[in-house]
């Protein structure tokens, strides 16, 4: 594994996974919002596929992240962080993890229900668990959308919290996730 940063920082693996996921999520979200209203065109077909591939990648990274986490305890919160804030941070992170799984899974199931298999990168077919069904497809699409709205709100709060830690609490939370070497 990576060299531990003291004992209290995130490993480089964790940092790379966090920002890799963040970048893909933001791209996938923007693409999801944009592609739906396009007129049918080759571009639309491409964007839908890219969206799905991004989502499948996010899912794979989420699996890797949880596996990483099982063997690497996250660094402790700063001592002066009040317990309600710790609880809130834990809950928000748990929710984020849950959504990193739920959104791609629901997206994939919805795609199956629409009758479109997901073929990762156009090469690796992911089996369809659900048969084609219009009602199911509409329902799953709605859930996919609502979960995305939830994700959006939580990520905003998450970013807000990071900014608050950095500028108001003046602690190392943001710096240690940016790879700035952790607490001195």
């Amino acid at each position: 594994m990576d060299k531990p940063v003291e004992d209290i920082g995130w490993t480089r693996t964790a940092i790379a996974l966090h920002w890799g996921t963040a970048a893909l999520i933001i791209a996938g979200f923007a693409l999801g919002e944009y592609m739906g209203d396009l007129a049918v065109s080759p571009m639309k077909l491409k964007l839908y596929s890219y969206h799905k591939w991004l989502g499948v990648t996010v899912f794979a990274l989420a699996v890797i992240r949880l596996a990483w986490r099982a063997f690497n305890a996250p660094p402790p919160f700063p001592q002066k962080m009040p317990s309600w804030e710790r609880a809130a941070a834990k809950a928000a992170h748990a929710l984020l993890y849950a959504l990193l799984f739920a959104i791609p899974i629901i997206g994939w199931l919805g795609s199956s229900a629409h009758g479109f298999q997901t073929v990762y990168l156009g090469v690796i077919p992911i089996p369809d668990l659900l048969p084609k069904s219009k009602e199911l497809a509409d329902l799953l699409e709605e859930i996919h959308e609502q979960l995305n709205h939830a994700l959006f709100l939580i990520v905003i709060a998450h970013i807000g919290a990071a900014v608050k830690h950095h500028f108001i609490d003046k602690d190392d939370i943001l710096r240690r996730m940016l790879g700035g070497g952790g607490r001195k």
Partner: protein, 192 residues
């Protein structure tokens, strides 16, 4: 009106050759197709078609088939796809409401296996196609099953930006499953 219909019927009966080919059982028959879009297999089907098939197991050369497909009742596998595929760059259903297949020769490959050559016309373009067909009796019906692959661009299906085969593959697999009544008498009469 009734008299006209009766006249029409008698005409049919007395014009040799007009009657003996048996129209297929529409509810049981199907014509479907499979495309690949960004590597994803997407299937669709033609909901309305007429097909006349006459089959003579003793003399395959006498068998023949003709199929007319009403393009407006296509199902492309999704709501968006079904709207899109009828438009001008694809099937251009308004100007080309029908697609047609007419067999030109039938060769026996083995017991119950044939190779049908024929002309396929879609969107006003005609191309030769060659389809292996398996034939067997299914209840009181002949079951004809087979398929062939066309290149959609040969028929100008998907023009302009859609001609990009990186998005929608050029190859389209067409599969058919036709059930037609076994009409021994007709077959005999025709042999004379």
């Amino acid at each position: 009106m009734k008299r006209l219909a009766a006249l029409f019927l008698t005409m049919l009966i007395f014009i040799p050759g007009a009657l003996y080919s048996a129209p297929v059982e529409r509810d049981k028959s199907s014509i479907s197709f499979l495309t690949r879009q960004m590597g994803v297999p997407v299937s669709g089907s033609f909901k309305r078609f007429d097909a006349d098939v006459s089959h003579d197991p003793k003399d395959a050369g006498k068998s023949r088939a003709s199929i007319t497909i009403y393009m407006d009742e296509v199902d492309a596998g999704s709501d968006d796809g079904t709207v899109e595929i009828k438009r001008k760059p694809w099937f251009d259903v308004k100007n080309h409401p029908k697609a047609e297949f007419v067999s030109s020769s039938i060769k026996e490959l083995g017991p119950g296996r044939y190779e049908v050559a024929g002309k396929m016309t879609i969107k006003g373009r005609t191309r030769e196609v060659l389809a292996p067909v398996a034939v067997k009796k299914d209840g009181g019906l002949w079951l004809f099953e087979g398929g062939f692959t066309i290149n959609r661009l040969d028929f100008s299906i998907g023009e302009g930006p859609w001609a990009d085969t990186g998005t929608v593959d050029d190859k389209v697999e067409v599969r058919f499953r036709l059930l037609a009544p076994v009409e021994e008498k007709n077959n005999k009469r025709r042999l004379k």
